[in-house]
């Protein structure tokens, strides 16, 4: 039997009628049309389906859509604001943090969650944070550089901001 849910997706309240067995990734892709959350391994290994639920990275192929009823979900589509790229998107562009782009939405979301908790991460911190996300272009080096670049830019921006 379908259940009625309400979820805040990228800041906007959305409603849906879903079977409880529908996975969050399919709720996002097929019901809400947000295809930035990818389906890769579909076995909780590769991390390309990662989205933020109440700010915390989760693998959306391993959570049911009904579980986010009343909660807040951020996908890669929610990163850019007012027509401007998010600093993490700028950073991935600047440091060539992607090749094929399949892992990139998840990498960027995991990076934003890391920087929220730890604005000045070490390289080890960054490699720890992305250790649940596979990149098969073997582009980890530039992904790490991108996150470092973003952290630097965000620290400079907050240092320069009026208090």
């Amino acid at each position: 039997m379908k259940q009625s849910i309400t979820v805040t997706v990228n800041g906007q309240p959305r409603g849906a009628e879903v079977e409880p067995r529908m996975l969050l990734v399919h709720l996002l892709r097929d019901v809400f049309g947000l295809t930035g959350a990818h389906v890769g391994c579909d076995t909780t290994s590769c991390g390309v389906c990662t989205v933020l639920v109440d700010g915390t990275p989760v693998k959306s192929c391993t959570m049911f859509g009904v579980q986010v009823d009343g909660r807040s979900v951020t996908t890669v589509e929610g990163l850019a604001a007012n027509g401007a790229m998010h600093p993490i998107q700028e950073a991935f562009k600047e440091e060539h943090g992607l090749q094929c782009g399949f892992c990139t939405p998840a990498m960027m979301l995991v990076a934003t969650a890391l920087l929220e908790e730890n604005p000045d991460p070490t390289e080890d911190d960054i490699r720890w944070a992305i250790s649940g996300n596979l990149c098969r272009c073997t582009g980890y080096q530039n992904i790490v550089k991108s996150v470092q670049y973003c952290a630097e830019q965000m620290r400079q921006a907050s240092a320069g901001a009026p208090s």
């Binding site: 259940q3 067995r21 989760v58 693998k59 391993t62």
Partner: protein
């Protein structure tokens, strides 16, 4: 113009998804217990879901009812109780990520603190729980061995009352525990350490997020240089996690000398019952047990004061 067939399925029915079930999201323990009393055999409890949902997607599990306890209040406590000799309480909704960041664990429960960051990957740890891992009873689960080494127990509740089950008796076989269908595991408990104590967890894995090829949990409490309590748990080398009781007994009353460590690691390897698979041969895994128990115990020889 020839049409190009879409090779990638575009709708969710084309992907892997579970069979149908009825879903409940209770907000109190009593409500959850009522649902279990009603649906019992047909129902599975959903906590972190990081083992259950993959099993359901592959249809190894097809429960008619899923009871999601994530909205149940009063299951997210991580604290020490001073009752009796004292014990650690880990509520059923305490995530592995919380355990990984816990100062209480790093100062008082070093075996648990060492294991937490080695479980799967950081994203899975944001959801997965210790109590759920114990209920899943995967012989390759890391916390089963940790709890065996630390003589932990699990608290289960039903509408009929509450039981406390030592983890040794809780883990009954591969993916099988002694919990009854109408019972909810509400909490895991670990006796508070006494005297000088130390512990660690060593895990051989092929990559981050893989199951253990071999995992070894060790714990010792010493008094005037002699071992008063020893705990050794083995992961991935038998039908359940294994408590290496003979190896533990060989340490008690002795100093952590090279001789005692050699003997304990030999007995732990003898207690292992590994199978040859893609991660290694049985002989190889048994020898990794011997080496890891020795290595873990060597690391404890400078045991810290409580």
């Amino acid at each position: 113009m020839p049409t190009i067939a879409r090779s990638v399925p575009q709708r969710w029915e084309a992907y892997v998804f579970p069979s149908n079930f009825e879903y409940f999201a209770p907000t109190t323990i009593d409500e959850a217990l009522g649902l279990l009393a009603e649906h019992g055999d047909e129902a599975k409890i959903l906590a972190g879901g990081q083992s259950l949902i993959p099993l359901m997607k592959l249809r190894f599990a097809a429960p008619a009812v899923v009871i999601d306890i994530n909205r149940v209040a009063g299951l997210d406590h991580l604290e020490e109780s001073k009752r009796g000799r004292g014990f650690l309480r880990v509520g059923a909704l305490v995530r592995n990520a919380t355990l990984e960041r816990s100062e209480l664990l790093s100062s008082r429960y070093p075996t648990m603190a060492a294991a937490a960051p080695l479980i799967s990957d950081p994203i899975v740890r944001n959801q997965g729980t210790l109590v759920g891992s114990l209920c899943h009873a995967d012989p390759q689960g890391d916390f089963g061995s940790v709890m065996l080494a630390l003589d932990g127990e699990i608290v289960v509740r039903s509408t009929a009352g509450e039981r406390r089950i030592p983890v040794k008796r809780f883990l009954d076989g591969p993916f099988t525990s002694t919990i009854r269908p109408d019972e909810l595991a509400v909490e895991a408990r670990v006796p508070s350490p006494e005297g000088r104590f130390s512990g660690t967890y060593l895990k051989l894995e092929r990559k981050v997020g893989d199951f253990a090829t071999v995992g070894v949990a060790v714990f010792v409490a010493t008094e005037r240089g002699k071992v008063m309590r020893a705990g050794i748990g083995l992961t991935g080398v038998g039908a359940t996690n294994i408590k290496a009781t003979e190896a533990e007994a060989a340490l008690v009353g002795h100093r952590l000398s090279d001789t005692a460590i050699d003997e304990a690691s030999r007995l732990a390897a003898a207690a292992a019952d590994p199978r040859t698979d893609v991660r290694g041969s049985a002989d190889y895994k048994r020898d990794v047990v011997r080496v890891y128990v020795a290595r873990g115990l060597q690391q404890l020889t400078g045991a810290k004061a409580a």
